[in-house]
Each structure stands twice: as structure tokens, then as C-alpha cells.
Subunit: 206 residues, 2 copies
């Protein structure tokens, strides 16, 4: 009955699933452990969602929306700023417990996608939507003359893969030195390969 | 008693763990499911390894060695060829069931690293060793004049993150169009940013 879950209950539930996933991972998740991260009883969770996987799908839907909203909310009309900030958001911040927990949980759910159609379909749609969003920014930059005439889709896919790759080494293993180097190389790539000659990166990324 | 496991038994066991991980994932793995992928009995597995996690650690050690051997076995003294082939090996081949199963299993185990010290330590050492291996190739290329004067460690980390990122979208979700685009961008990056002016990519990657 997840379609009919009221917004307030859904926010409470998703917050608890998020905290429980960060603490225990998906493999060891139980509805009991989710309820332990909330003021509500286990019965409250079962009233709204039939199974543990329904809870996890609600989390996935929320995490997907969160990411889409963060990309859409980038406060600039300038494609240069939008692209740098979008890459920064996608890499995430190791010091931010939410970013860390959500990215590692999404990676764990990705590893279950070959065995789980609901996860597979949602995660595929999510990856596709992020690539589309990045490709739209790249297309805007090409039209405005701020970017070179790169392939928007291929560039978007390439940038997303690099950001995705940091989830394992940086977020899950804590190799923050690797994270810093990759972030620097990634911004250098944008400057040297995507920005048109004479266009500078935003001040915050220079 | 995993230190004392004879090579033949170890190979049998690791093969079964690998097939069981590809089929069921780590979360749903049991020693019974591992034994079902082998001619041996469950007792055989318990004789050599006490727990499911000991079996998985044996798999991790094997997968790490496999990767190191594949990188070390690249049949060329030319740093240009070595770098392109190494990146190709790290991205892996979606059509190869072993590559797919192993990469997705490693990603799942990465997601457990925050909760599991044995996984964390092995996976950190593994990532570090791949970065070192790539950085050594980059340093060789700089010395020989075939590469630009890039930062070997940062370049190595950046290349590995891009390769790692494809595990989710390509290997787990089957987005093979994304895989092809990223591979093309990655080789283009090597050509435009790492190779010195006038140095061409190997024929197989041009």
C-alpha cells in the first residue's frame, strides 16, 4: 500500500530506513532494526509497508528524488557553474554522514540489482536520469559557446562513472586522499576538455 | 585454518564461492549454496573454513591476486600499451560472466566494508595496490618521454575510480551503451591528457 502512505509517515519511515541502512547495511537490515531508528513501533512500519524490501524501495525512491532535487536546485543559470557543482554533488562529501550512508547504501542496492527487478528498474531509471540531467547541462554549455563541441551523452556518462567510482574507495573505505586527488583530476578534466578555450572554472573550483 | 588450506582445495572452494556469489550475492550466501556450486559436500567446506565470511575472505584474496596477476601479465614493455590494456582490464568485459560476477561481488563486499574489518582491510590494500601499479606505469611513461608530466598517483586514482564506477551501471544494471561511451571517453582521456604530443594510442585502441 505504499502508494497511499501519507507524506509525514513516509518521511518518518524513510529517515529510519536511511539511518538503519547506514548502521547495518541492507544485508543485515530487518524491520525491527528500522523501527529502532524511529520513535514509532515496528507495527507502524508494517502497517504502511508489507516487507523489508518495500521499505527499501521507499528509501530508493526518496534517495533518487533527493539527488534529482539537488541537481535541479543548483542556483545558477551559468552552465559552467552548473556542471562543476553537479559533479561536486555527485561525488559527495565524505565528512557528511548522510552523503556517506546514502551513497554506500545505494552501492549495496546496486549490487543486488542483478537479483532484484524492483531495485534494477529504479536504479536504471535513476542512472539514466542523472546522465540526462548532466547531458542537458553540457548541451546548454555547447549552445552558449562556453563548452567545446563534446558529445553530451558520452561526457555525462563518463563524469557520472567517475563520481560513482568514488563511493567504494572513498565513502566505503575512507581513502580520503584518493577522494581529494580524484576531485582535483575531475575538475581539471572539466577545465581542459569540456570548457572552451579561454573559459575559466568557477572561482570556488579554480 | 585457512592458512593451511591446500592449493587444490582452495581453488575448488574459491570457484564455488565465486559462482555462488554471482548467482545469489553475498547477502543471501550460505555455505550450503556454496557447496551446491561444487562436487564437494558442505562438510568439505566447513572442514577448511569455519564460517561463510572465511569463505568470502578466501574469495577476496583470490580476486585480488587475480587482478594483480592480470595487470602484471600485460605482455608489453611499452608504457603506452600497458596503460591502455590496464584500463581495459579494470573496466572489464560485460559479456564475460566471470568479470561481471566478480566485479559485482567485489562491489557488494565494498558496501560491507564499513561494518566488516576483514573486508575493509583487504579491499583497502587491494585498491591501494592497483593505484600503485597504475602509478608505476604512468611514472615509466613519463621517464620514457611517452607521457606528459602528469601526477602519477592522482592520474592512477582518477583512472581507477572511472573504471570502478562502471561496475554499477554497466555490470550490475546492464547499461552497455553507457559502458561503450565511458570506455571511449576513457581512452580519449589517456590520448589527450596522458600521452605526450605526437604519441599515438596502441592500434587496438585507436
Amino acid at each position: 500500500m505504499s502508494d497511499a502512505v501519507p507524506d509525514v509517515a513516509r518521511a518518518e519511515i524513510v529517515g529510519a530506513v536511511r539511518r538503519a541502512l547506514a548502521k547495518h547495511g541492507y544485508a543485515r537490515l530487518t524491520t525491527k532494526k528500522v523501527a529502532a531508528e524511529s520513535e514509532k513501533s515496528e507495527a507502524f512500519f508494517f502497517y504502511h509497508y508489507d516487507t523489508k524490501d518495500d521499505l527499501v524501495v521507499a528509501f530508493l525512491d526518496w534517495a533518487t528524488e533527493r539527488s534529482a532535487e539537488r541537481l535541479a536546485a543548483i542556483d545558477s543559470d551559468d552552465p559552467v557553474t552548473r556542471l562543476f557543482v553537479a559533479c561536486d554533488v555527485l561525488v559527495g562529501d565524505y565528512e557528511d554522514e548522510d552523503d556517506r550512508g546514502i551513497n554506500v547504501a545505494m552501492m549495496e542496492l546496486l549490487s543486488h540489482a542483478p537479483h532484484d527487478e524492483a531495485f534494477h528498474d529504479r536504479l536504471s531509471a535513476y542512472k539514466r536520469s542523472v546522465i540526462d540531467e548532466l547531458a542537458a547541462i553540457v548541451s546548454l554549455g555547447i549552445e552558449s559557446g562556453a563548452f567545446r563541441d563534446v558529445d553530451p551523452e558520452a561526457t555525462a556518462a563518463y563524469l557520472l562513472m567517475t563520481a560513482d567510482g568514488t563511493t567504494g574507495a572513498v565513502m566505503a573505505l575512507g581513502m580520503t586522499d584518493v577522494g581529494e586527488k580524484v576531485r582535483e583530476r575531475l575538475f581539471d578534466y572539466l577545465t581542459s576538455t569540456v570548457l572552451a578555450d579561454g573559459v575559466s572554472p568557477p572561482a570556488a573550483f579554480a
